[in-house]
C-alpha cells in the first residue's frame, strides 16, 4: 500500500517536472535565444512561408535543382517522414533505381550529351532516410548545373559559384559529410 501511494506521488511530481517544467523552460529559452531556429528554420518571403531550410521540397521544373527521391506520401511531406524500407535485394528497389536513373538521363542529356548512367551519383537515385533530406551530394549538384545554367541562360561558372555558396561543409570542418542545400541554392538562383 505504501509503495502504491509513494508511486502515485512520484508519478505526479515526475510528470510536472519532466513533462511540463522542463520542456516549458527549454521552450522559453529557445523563443528568446533562437526564435528562428527553434520554430523549424522557416524561410519567409513577403510575409509568406516558402519552406524550411531543413526540409526538402518538390522541385520538378527544369530551372530548379532537384532533390533526392522521397519515400513519403505525398513526396517531401515534412509532416509525415518515412524511410522507404525496401530491402537490399528487393526487386522493387532495383526497378525504382532504374526508373530514377532513366528519368535523370532523359532530363539532363539534352544539356549534357555525354552523360551515362555511370555518371549518376547514388544519392540521386535512392530515397533519403527522412524523405525530406534537404541536401544533395556535391556530385549530384554539379551533374545538374549544366541544365540549370542552360535553361536560365546563365554562365555555367555562375551556377557553380552558387553551388559552392549553398554547400554545407562538415561541421567544425570534420564531422559529417558535405552536402548542397537545394532550397537555398534555388532561392539564390531566383535572386531572392
Amino acid at each position: 500500500m505504501t509503495a502504491l501511494v509513494r508511486s502515485a506521488i512520484v508519478v505526479v511530481l515526475a510528470t510536472l517536472v519532466f513533462g511540463f517544467a522542463y520542456p516549458a523552460i527549454m521552450t522559453g529559452f529557445a523563443s528568446v535565444a533562437f526564435p528562428g531556429k527553434s520554430t523549424a528554420s522557416l524561410v519567409h518571403e513577403n510575409g509568406r512561408i516558402v519552406g524550411s531550410r531543413l526540409a526538402a521540397q518538390n522541385f520538378t521544373w527544369p530551372r530548379y535543382f532537384h532533390e533526392r527521391p522521397s519515400g513519403t506520401a505525398p513526396a517531401y511531406n515534412a509532416g509525415a517522414t518515412t524511410f522507404l524500407n525496401l530491402g537490399p535485394t528487393s526487386p522493387d528497389l532495383a526497378k525504382l533505381v532504374a526508373q530514377n536513373a532513366q528519368a535523370i538521363l532523359k532530363l539532363e542529356r539534352p544539356y549534357n550529351p555525354g552523360l551515362t548512367i555511370h555518371d549518376i551519383p547514388v544519392d540521386a537515385v535512392t530515397t533519403s532516410g527522412s524523405g525530406i533530406d534537404p541536401d544533395i551530394s556535391p556530385a549530384y549538384a554539379s551533374l545538374q548545373a549544366r541544365r540549370v545554367a542552360a535553361v536560365r541562360h546563365l554562365p555555367l561558372a555562375t551556377v557553380q559559384q552558387l553551388i559552392k555558396k549553398a554547400t554545407v561543409g562538415r561541421s567544425l570542418g570534420f564531422l559529417g559529410e558535405p552536402g548542397v542545400n537545394v532550397l537555398e541554392l534555388n532561392l539564390a538562383l531566383d535572386g531572392r
Binding site: 527549454m26 527553434s38 521540397q57 509532416g79 555511370h118 534537404p134 561541421s171 564531422l175
Partner: protein, 562 residues
C-alpha cells in the same frame, strides 16, 4: 573506408572515454553521498515516513514493479484520451488501443519501439507529459537498479541494497536532467525545433503546399539519446533533419547514446574498488563495438547488390560518400550512419539516423546480433551493466570449472544459487525472442506484419521481437502494426525488461549477504586480458550460438542468394 571516416571514429572513441570517465566518477559520488540536499529531504518528507530507508532486494523490486505498473496506466490513459485533452493544436484523435498498449510498454520499459509515426499520431501533451516523462523515469529506474546491484557486490554480510526512491531521485535529478538541459540547449542552437506552435504550412517555390511538423522536440531529443530511449518525435527518427540537423548534432547525439552506459562501467570500478577489473570489462565492450563497426561500415560502403548492378556510381569520392545510400541522409553518409547503427544497437537505444531495412545483408546482421547479445555491449543505461553481470558470473564460473576450484568474484564465493540466477538472466530473453519470432512467422496473424516478402521478411520478423524483447526499439521499419504484433510485442517488452531486472536484483541481494574471502594463488584473476577474452568468448558463445540458426535463415541466406 576513407581516412576521414577513420578519423571521425577515433575522435568519437577518444571523446567517449574522455567524457565517460569523469562522468563515472561523478555518478559514483552521486550514489554514494550520505547527506541529502535540502530539496531531496523535502522529497522524502512528501513521500512519507521512512521513505528513504534501506531496502532488501525484494522490497526494492516490489517498489520498482508497483511504480512501473502505475505509470503504465497513466501513459496508456493519456494516449487514449488525448483527443479530449489540451496541448493538441493539430486535433489528433485518441490513439488506437493496441498501439497505445504497445507504446505504453515501449516507453515504460525503456524500449521505445514505435508502431506509430510521432508527428501524426501523438499530441504535444502525449509526447511531453506521457512519453518524454518516461524517457527520464524508465532510464532512472534502470540506473537505480544498477546502483543497487553494484552495492550488493560491494557490501559484505549485508541484508539491504539501498533505497529505490533515493536512487531514482539521484539518477534523474543529478545525472539525467543536467545533461539533458545541456544537450537540449546545443540542439536548439543547431536548429532542432522547440516550440508550442502548431505545424507550419509553406507555399513552396513551385506553389505547392507543404506541411512542416514541429513541436517541443529538442528537450525530448536530448533525453531520448542520453537515457538510451530512442523514440523520437518524428517517424524517421534521427534521420530527420529537424531531429538531427548536421554533423555536429549527429556527433553529439551519437556520443549521448553511449555516454552514460560507458560512464557506468567506470562508476562500477569505483564503487566496488576494482578499477582494473572495470577497465577490462570496458575493453571487452569496446572491442565488440569496434567489431560491429568493422563489419557494418565496409559492407554498407561496398553497397547492395541491387545498387552495384544498377550501373549508377557508388564509388566514394568526387563529391559523394557513395555506397548504400538507400534510406540514408547525405549529411551523414556511410561512416556516420554505420557508427550510429552499431552504437544504437549495442546500447539498447534504438534511435536511428538511417533506415535499417535497406541495409545490406551483412550490414543489417550487425544490429540483429548486437541486440541478441542481450544489450550488454555498453547496453541500456543501468540495464546494460546489470545484464553484463550475468555474463561475468558465467565467465567466472566457467573459469572455476577449468581450474577446478569454487569460483570467486571480487572476493565472493559464487555458488549454485548465483549461477542459476545468472543463467536465467542471460538466457530468458533470447529464448523468449526465438519463440515469439517462431510464433509470428508460423501464424497468419503474425505474417500480416511482414513488409518485404521472402527471406528479408523473416529477418524483419526476427528483428522485431529481438528488438522489443531486448528493449532496444530500433526496427527494420517496414514491419507493420497489427493488433497481434502490437500485443505480442508489448508482452515481449514487459517480460524482457522485468525478468532480467528482478534477476539482477536477486543476484545483488544474494551477493550482498556473502563474506569476503581473501584472494589466494588459486583465485582466477578478473582484472587481466585473459578475463577480457574469456568474457567476450562467453558472450559470443552463449547468445551468439543461440541466434546462429536463425541468422542462417535470414541475413546469411539473403547474402548468399544474390
Amino acid at each position: 573506408m576513407s581516412g576521414q571516416g577513420i578519423g571521425q571514429l577515433l575522435v568519437y572513441a577518444a571523446a567517449l572515454i574522455a567524457l565517460g570517465y569523469p562522468l563515472g566518477i561523478w555518478m559514483a559520488r552521486v550514489y554514494g553521498r550520505e547527506r541529502d540536499g535540502v530539496v531531496e529531504r523535502g522529497f522524502y518528507r512528501v513521500l512519507g515516513r521512512k521513505s528513504s530507508e534501506e531496502q532488501d532486494w525484494k522490497a526494492y523490486g516490489k517498489n520498482v514493479l508497483v511504480f512501473s505498473v502505475l505509470f503504465s496506466l497513466v501513459v496508456y490513459g493519456i494516449q487514449r484520451l488525448q483527443g479530449h485533452l489540451f496541448l493538441n493544436p493539430d486535433h489528433l484523435k485518441g490513439v488506437a488501443p493496441h498501439i497505445a498498449l504497445n507504446t505504453t510498454a515501449s516507453f515504460v520499459t525503456n524500449t521505445n519501439w514505435q508502431y506509430y509515426g510521432g508527428e501524426f499520431t501523438m499530441s504535444y501533451l502525449t509526447q511531453m507529459a506521457g512519453l518524454a516523462v518516461q524517457n527520464f523515469v524508465s532510464a532512472g529506474v534502470g540506473m537505480a537498479v544498477l546502483a543497487a546491484v553494484i552495492r550488493g557486490i560491494a557490501r559484505r554480510s549485508a541484508g539491504t541494497l539501498g533505497n529505490f526512491w533515493r536512487d531514482l531521485y539521484r539518477s534523474v535529478v543529478f545525472i539525467l536532467l543536467p545533461l539533458s538541459i545541456l544537450l537540449a540547449v546545443i540542439l536548439i542552437s543547431q536548429g532542432v525545433p522547440q516550440t508550442f506552435h502548431a505545424h507550419a504550412t509553406a507555399t513552396t517555390l513551385q506553389g505547392a503546399h507543404q506541411t512542416i511538423a514541429r513541436g517541443p522536440f529538442a528537450s525530448q531529443e536530448a533525453i531520448k539519446q542520453l537515457g538510451t530511449n530512442g523514440g523520437g518525435p518524428y517517424n524517421s527518427n534521427s534521420a530527420v533533419p529537424f531531429e538531427n540537423p548536421n554533423g555536429l548534432t549527429d556527433f553529439l547525439e551519437l556520443l549521448a547514446i553511449l555516454l552514460i552506459p560507458a560512464g557506468q562501467v567506470f562508476m562500477f570500478g569505483r564503487m566496488v574498488n576494482a578499477r582494473r577489473h572495470a577497465a577490462v570489462v570496458f575493453a571487452a565492450m569496446f572491442a565488440m563495438f569496434a567489431i560491429g563497426v568493422a563489419v557494418n561500415l565496409p559492407s554498407e560502403q561496398h553497397g547492395s547488390q541491387v545498387l552495384r548492378n544498377s550501373g549508377v556510381n557508388i564509388a566514394q569520392g568526387h563529391g559523394q560518400s557513395g555506397g548504400n545510400m538507400a534510406d540514408k541522409e547525405v549529411r551523414f553518409g556511410i561512416a556516420n550512419t554505420a557508427t550510429w547503427t552499431v552504437a544504437t544497437s549495442d546500447a539498447s537505444n534504438g534511435s536511428v539516423n538511417g533506415g535499417f531495412d535497406a541495409q545490406t545483408p551483412a550490414g543489417g546482421a550487425v544490429p540483429l546480433v548486437n541486440l541478441f547479445l542481450g544489450e550488454v555491449v555498453f547496453g541500456g543505461v543501468g540495464s546494460g551493466l546489470y545484464g553484463m553481470f550475468f555474463y561475468i558470473l558465467i565467465a567466472v564460473f566457467i573459469a572455476g570449472l577449468m581450474v577446478g576450484r569454487t569460483p570467486e568474484y571480487l572476493g565472493k564465493k559464487i555458488e549454485a544459487r548465483e549461477i542459476k540466477i545468472a543463467a536465467l538472466g542471460a538466457l530468458f530473453v533470447p529464448t523468449m525472442v526465438l519463440v515469439m519470432a517462431a510464433v509470428a512467422i508460423g501464424t497468419k496473424s503474425g505474417l500480416a506484419s511482414v513488409y518485404n516478402h521472402g527471406v528479408h521478411g523473416f529477418t524483419e520478423t526476427l528483428y522485431a521481437y529481438d528488438s522489443q524483447g531486448n528493449n532496444n526499439g530500433s526496427a527494420f521499419a517496414g514491419y507493420g502494426a497489427t493488433s497481434f504484433s502490437a500485443t505480442l510485442g508489448a508482452v515481449a517488452m514487459y517480460f524482457g525488461r522485468f525478468v532480467p531486472l528482478l534477476a539482477a536484483l536477486a543476484l545483488g541481494g544474494s551477493l550482498a549477504q556473502k563474506k569476503i574471502v581473501p584472494a589466494s594463488a588459486g583465485t582466477f584473476r578478473t582484472d587481466g586480458p585473459t578475463f577480457g577474452v574469456l568474457l567476450t568468448g562467453v558472450i559470443v558463445l552463449t547468445a551468439g550460438l543461440m541466434i546462429l540458426p536463425a541468422l542462417t535463415l535470414g541475413p546469411i541466406v539473403e547474402g548468399l542468394m544474390h
